[in-house]
C-alpha cells in the first residue's frame, strides 16, 4: 500500500506541477504581449475604441483589413472589441452610458436605430462624403448613424430539393410547402425580425391571418441565423430566410449555384447597417475620421466579400459572384416600433 500510495501521490503532484508550469509560462508570455501595445500607443488620445459584432471582427470579416488600412492612412491606433452580435453592441453601450468606454459603434441597423436614439447613446455626425449614400439608404436625417452596407432579406431555395419554388409570400402558405420552411425567431435573430417586418409591410393589419395560415408550413424557428442556415444546408428543408446575397457566397467559396435567392414581386424588406459616434466619446476626432473612412472606396471595397452585403457606395465594382445575388424590384419599409409590437402577437399565434 505505501508504495502504491506514494506513486499515485507523486503522479498527482507531477500532474499539477506540470500544469502550473505551463500556466505560469503562458502568463509570462501573455503579460509580455500585453505590455507592448500599451507602450507603443503612448498617449491615450491616439487610441480609437470600436465596438462591433463578432462576424465583423472575425479573421475573415472586414474588421482586420479595415483597421489595417485606417491605421496606415491616419496613424490612429484602433482597438476593435467584439461584443457578440449587434444587439449586444448596443446593450453594452447603453450599460456604459454614464462612462462610455468606446468611441464608435458598428452594426446598429434600421431595426435598432429607434432604441439607440431613445437610449441616447449616439451623437449625430454627418460625414463630408455623405452624398455617396443614396437617399433610400439614409438611416436618419440627422445622421445619427452612417450607413455602410445593406442587403435584402429573401427566401433562399435549394434547387436540388426538387420542389417548385414559391413565387410570393402568399405561396409560402400553400400546403405543398408543409414543414418545408425554416424561419428564425424574431425575438433572437435579425433575419427573423426582417421576415416579420416583411409580412407587416405586405399584409398590413392582416399579418396575423397570414401567420395563422403560415404556421403549419414552418418546420422550425431557429434561435439564430447560424442554426437555421445550418439546418438548411444540411438538407433539412428546401426554404430558409436569409439575404439575397447568400447565393453569392456559395458561388464564390463553394463553387456551387445550387442555392437561389427568390425574388417576390411584392417587394422585399432590407437591412441597412450603420456606424455611429458615441455620445461622450473620449476621442471624437478619431471616431469622426473612422466614420469618414468607412465611406471611402478604400473601405467600401472590402465589404462585398467579407460582409456578404452590398456596399453603400455605387462606385464599387461588385465581384462576379454577385451575379448570383438578384436585386429586388421594390424596397419595403416598416417603422421599427410596429415590428417590435408585432413580435409578441406573432409568438402568441405560433404558440397556440
Amino acid at each position: 500500500m505505501p508504495a502504491e500510495g506514494m506513486m499515485t501521490k507523486s503522479r498527482l503532484l507531477s500532474f499539477f506541477l506540470i500544469l502550473s508550469f505551463f500556466i505560469s509560462l503562458s502568463a509570462v508570455c501573455a503579460s509580455g504581449k500585453n505590455d507592448k501595445p500599451a507602450n507603443a500607443s503612448g498617449t491615450a488620445s491616439n487610441e480609437l475604441v470600436v465596438y462591433a459584432y463578432d462576424s465583423f471582427t472575425a479573421d475573415w470579416g472586414p474588421g482586420p483589413e479595415l483597421v489595417k488600412r485606417f491605421e496606415a492612412k491616419t496613424g490612429y491606433k484602433v482597438t476593435m472589441i467584439s461584443c457578440g452580435d449587434a444587439a449586444q453592441v448596443l446593450s453594452r453601450a447603453v450599460l456604459e452610458k454614464k462612462a462610455p468606454a468606446s468611441d464608435v459603434l458598428v452594426g446598429i441597423d434600421n431595426n435598432l436605430i429607434d432604441t439607440a436614439r431613445k437610449e441616447d447613446v449616439l451623437a449625430p455626425y454627418k460625414p463630408a462624403t455623405s452624398s455617396i449614400v443614396s437617399k433610400d439608404l439614409v438611416l436618419a436625417n440627422d445622421w445619427l448613424l452612417t450607413p455602410y452596407d445593406w442587403g435584402y432579406f429573401a427566401m433562399i431555395f435549394d434547387s436540388a430539393s426538387g420542389i417548385t419554388p414559391p413565387a410570393s409570400l402568399e405561396d409560402l402558405t400553400k400546403p405543398e410547402y408543409a414543414k418545408k420552411i425554416i424561419l428564425m425567431d424574431p425575438r433572437t435573430s435579425t433575419p427573423g425580425t426582417g421576415f416579420l417586418a416583411w409580412t407587416l409591410a405586405v399584409y398590413g393589419k392582416n399579418y396575423t391571418d397570414y401567420w395563422t395560415r403560415l404556421k403549419g408550413n414552418i418546420l422550425t424557428m431557429a434561435p439564430g441565423w447560424d442554426t437555421g442556415y445550418g439546418l438548411f444546408t444540411s438538407g433539412e428543408a428546401p426554404l430558409v430566410i436569409s439575404y439575397t446575397t447568400s447565393p453569392a457566397y456559395h458561388v464564390e467559396n463553394d463553387k456551387t449555384d445550387r442555392y437561389k435567392a427568390l425574388i417576390f414581386p411584392e417587394g422585399h424588406t432590407a437591412q441597412i447597417e450603420g456606424l455611429g459616434l458615441v455620445n461622450g466619446a473620449k476621442n471624437p476626432k478619431a471616431a469622426k475620421a473612422f466614420i469618414d473612412f468607412m465611406l471611402t472606396d478604400e473601405a467600401q471595397s472590402v465589404l462585398p466579400l467579407t460582409q456578404w452585403m452590398y456596399p453603400v457606395s455605387k462606385t464599387i465594382k461588385l465581384p462576379d459572384s454577385y451575379k448570383a445575388a438578384p436585386m429586388a424590384s421594390k424596397t419595403l419599409t416598416v417603422p421599427s416600433a410596429d415590428v417590435a409590437a408585432a413580435v409578441d402577437t406573432v409568438i402568441s399565434i405560433l404558440a397556440k
Binding site: M1, E4, G5, K9, R11, L12, F15, F16, L19, F22, I23, S26, A30, N34, S55, A58, I81, S82, C83, G84, A87, Q88, R92, V94, L95, A101, E119, S159, A160, K179, D185, R187, T188, K215, T220, M221, A222, P223, G224, W225, T227, G230, L231, T233, S234, Y249, H250, D254, K255, T256, R258, A340, A341, V343, D344, I347, S348, L350, A351, K352
Partner: protein
C-alpha cells in the same frame, strides 16, 4: 531527530499547500458571489425605458408556460440520462470489454461541444434528409421519412438525454466499481434474484452518485435554450429566451434582471430539493469498500444484452457524433456546379491552415489547464474542509455545505459574465479564468466528493488514529486515495472551459481567440463543414484529457489498499 525535522518540514509544506488551496477556494467563491450579486442589482433598480409588461401583457402567462415546459423537459431529460447512464456505468465499472476506456473518454463531450453543434448533429442523423432516414427510405422502399420525432418534446428530451448521459456514466461508475461484494454475495446465497439484489442493495448505495449527476443534468437542461427552441415546437419559449428578449430587444434591464432572478430562484429551489433528497438518502448508506476486479463479459444473456445496449448507443449517441465528423469531410465539389455535397478534406485543410488556428489551440489548452487547476484545487479544498472529520467548522451534514457547490449551477453563464463586466469593463484572460472556474468547480466537486465518499470507513478510522492531524491525514491518505476523482474533476473543468464561447464574448476580451470562439464564428459565417471540423477538434481534445487520465489507473493493482 532527523525524522522529526522531516516531519515538521512536510508539515510546513502541507500547511502551505492547504493555505494555497484555501486561497484558491476563496478566489473562486468571490469570482462567483461578487459578480452574481452585481448582476441582479438592475432587477431592483428603477425600470429603464418603457414598461415591458404594459406592452406585452401576454408575457406573464408566457413566462409561466415557459417555466412549465422547461421543468417537464428537464425532468424527462434527466430521467432519460439516468436510464441510459446506469447500464453504461455498470458495464464500465464491473465488466471488461474492448472500448471501455473510449466509452469513458466520451464523458467530457457533452460539456465541450456547444449545443448548436449538438442540435446540428441530431439533424444530420435524424433529420428528414438525415443519414438514418435516408438509409431507411432506401432499404424500406419508403417515400416519406419514417423517423420524425425530432421536432417535438421527444426530440428535445432525446437530444438532452443522450448528450448528458456521460455525466451520469462517469460519476456513477466511479462509485459502482468500489461497492463491496459481500452483501450482494450474501443476498445471492440467501436466494435473492439479480433484480432484487440490484433494487435493495446496489441501487440505494448508488443513489448519492445518481442524484448528484442527475442534478447536474437537470440544471444543464433547465438552462438549455437552443435545443429547446429548435426542436420544442414553433413558438415555444423558455425563461432564457424571455430574458434574452427583455435585455436585447426591449433593453429593459429591469425586467431582464427580474427574469434572471426568477430563473436563479427556480434553479436554487431545485438545488435545495436535491440537497434535501441527498441528505435523506445518505443517512441510509454505509461506507463503501475498495475497488474490485472487473470481470470479462460472459454468458450468452450478458453478452447479447451488452451488444444490444451498444447497438442502441451506436444509433442514438455515436451516430449523431459521427455525423459531425462526416459533415466535416463534406463540401460542395470545387469547379463543378452541381447539387450534391461530396467528400473532401477541404474544410480540414482550411481550418488547420488558418494562421490563427495554432494560437487558438494554445489558448484553449492553457486557459483550460488553468481553469482545471484552479477549480479542482478549490473543489478539493472544499471537499476536504467540509468532510466528516474535516479541518473546518463546515460539517458535511449541514445543508449549506451542500448548497454552496451547487449554487453556481443556478446562475447562467451570461448572467455571471454580465456581473463581471460591471466589475471589469474590459476583461482579460485572468478574468476569464476566474469566471470559468466559478462556473466549472461544481463539476470538479461532484467527482472529488464521489471519490472521497467511497473511501472505506475502516481506512478513515485508521487514518484518524494514526495521523498526527487532519492536514497530514488529508495529504497522506485522502488525496492519494481519491486522486482519480481529482483528475476526473480537473478533466470536466477543462472540458467546460474548452467549450465555453459565451463568457469570452460577454467579457469582451480584446484580441482573444480560442477554439470555441473560432467554432462560434465559423458557424455564423456559412462555414459549416469547417465548424464541424472545429467541433471534432474540441471533442478529441476533451476526449484525450479523459483517455489519458483513465490510462493512468491500474484498477487491478488498487485492491491492496
Amino acid at each position: 531527530m532527523v525524522a522529526t525535522k522531516r516531519a515538521s518540514l512536510t508539515g510546513m509544506i502541507y500547511t502551505a499547500l492547504a493555505i494555497v488551496g484555501g486561497l484558491f477556494f476563496a478566489l473562486v467563491m468571490l469570482s462567483f458571489l461578487v459578480p452574481a450579486c452585481l448582476s441582479i442589482i438592475p432587477a431592483f433598480g428603477i425600470a429603464s425605458g418603457a414598461s415591458y409588461l404594459a406592452v406585452g401583457q401576454p408575457a406573464t402567462g408566457r413566462i409561466f408556460a415557459a417555466f412549465r415546459f422547461t421543468m417537464t423537459e428537464a425532468l424527462l431529460s434527466s430521467t432519460l440520462a439516468i436510464a441510459i447512464g446506469l447500464p453504461a456505468a455498470f458495464l464500465a465499472a464491473r465488466r471488461d470489454f474492448p472500448g471501455r476506456r473510449a466509452l469513458l473518454a466520451l464523458s467530457g463531450v457533452p460539456l465541450c461541444i456547444p449545443p448548436m453543434i449538438i442540435a446540428l448533429a441530431f439533424v444530420l442523423f435524424y433529420g428528414r434528409q438525415g443519414y438514418l432516414n435516408t438509409f431507411l427510405m432506401k432499404y424500406g422502399n419508403l417515400t416519406e421519412p419514417p423517423v420524425t420525432f425530432l421536432y417535438s418534446l421527444a426530440g428535445v428530451v432525446i437530444a438532452h438525454g443522450f448528450y448528458n448521459f456521460p455525466v451520469v456514466l462517469r460519476t456513477v461508475s466511479q462509485v459502482w466499481e468500489r461497492l463491496p461484494e459481500a452483501e450482494e454475495d450474501a443476498a445471492r446465497l440467501l436466494g435473492a434474484g439479480q433484480l432484487r439484489i440490484f433494487r435493495t442493495i446496489t441501487l440505494p448505495r448508488l443513489s448519492g452518485a445518481i442524484l448528484a449527476s442527475s442534478a447536474l443534468v437537470f440544471l444543464y437542461c433547465f438552462f438549455s435554450f437552443i435545443i429547446v427552441l429548435l426542436f420544442g415546437g414553433v413558438g415555444g419559449t423558455t425563461l432564457e429566451v424571455e430574458l434574452y428578449q427583455a435585455a436585447r430587444s426591449s433593453f429593459d434591464f429591469h425586467l431582464a434582471g427580474s427574469i434572471a432572478l426568477v430563473e436563479t430562484a427556480c434553479a436554487l429551489g431545485i438545488v435545495i430539493l436535491y440537497v434535501y433528497a441527498q441528505k435523506k438518502l445518505s443517512a441510509g448508506t454505509a461506507a463503501l469498500a475498495i475497488s474490485r476486479k472487473r470481470q470479462r463479459l460472459s454468458g450468452l444473456g450478458e453478452i447479447s444484452g451488452a451488444l444490444l445496449y451498444f447497438l442502441f448507443l451506436l444509433v442514438f449517441f455515436i451516430g449523431p457524433l459521427v455525423s459531425i465528423l462526416i459533415r466535416s469531410f463534406m463540401q460542395n465539389g470545387s469547379g463543378a456546379f452541381s447539387g450534391a455535397l461530396r467528400f473532401g478534406t477541404g474544410a480540414w485543410a482550411t481550418l488547420l491552415g488558418r494562421a490563427g488556428f495554432l494560437p487558438a489551440l494554445g489558448t484553449t489548452l492553457v486557459n483550460g489547464a488553468a481553469v482545471a487547476l484552479l477549480s479542482s484545487c478549490a473543489a478539493l479544498f472544499f471537499a476536504l474542509a467540509r468532510g466528516k472529520r474535516g479541518f473546518s467548522g463546515l460539517r458535511e451534514g449541514r445543508s449549506l455545505s451542500r448548497i454552496i457547490p451547487m449554487a453556481p449551477l443556478a446562475v447562467s453563464s451570461v448572467v455571471l459574465g454580465f456581473g463581471w463586466t460591471l466589475l471589469v469593463p474590459r476583461g482579460n484572460i485572468l478574468v476569464l479564468i476566474l469566471a470559468q472556474s466559478a462556473m466549472a468547480w461544481p463539476f470538479a466537486w461532484t467527482q472529488i466528493q464521489a471519490a472521497l465518499d467511497r473511501i472505506p470507513k475502516s481506512v478513515h478510522d485508521a487514518s484518524m488514529m494514526l495521523s498526527p492531524g487532519p492536514l497530514d491525514r488529508s495529504f497522506r491518505v485522502l488525496i492519494p486515495l481519491s486522486y482519480r476523482g481529482i483528475l476526473s474533476g480537473a478533466g470536466f473543468a477543462f472540458a467546460i472551459s474548452a467549450g465555453d464561447a459565451s463568457l469570452p464574448l460577454v467579457l469582451s476580451l480584446t484580441r482573444f481567440e480560442n477554439i470555441s470562439l473560432m467554432l462560434f464564428r465559423l458557424v455564423g459565417s456559412y462555414r459549416f463543414s469547417e465548424a464541424c471540423a472545429c467541433a471534432v477538434v474540441l471533442a478529441v481534445l476533451s476526449g484525450a484529457v479523459f483517455f489519458l487520465q483513465d490510462g493512468e489507473t491500474r484498477p487491478d493493482k488498487e485492491h491492496d489498499l
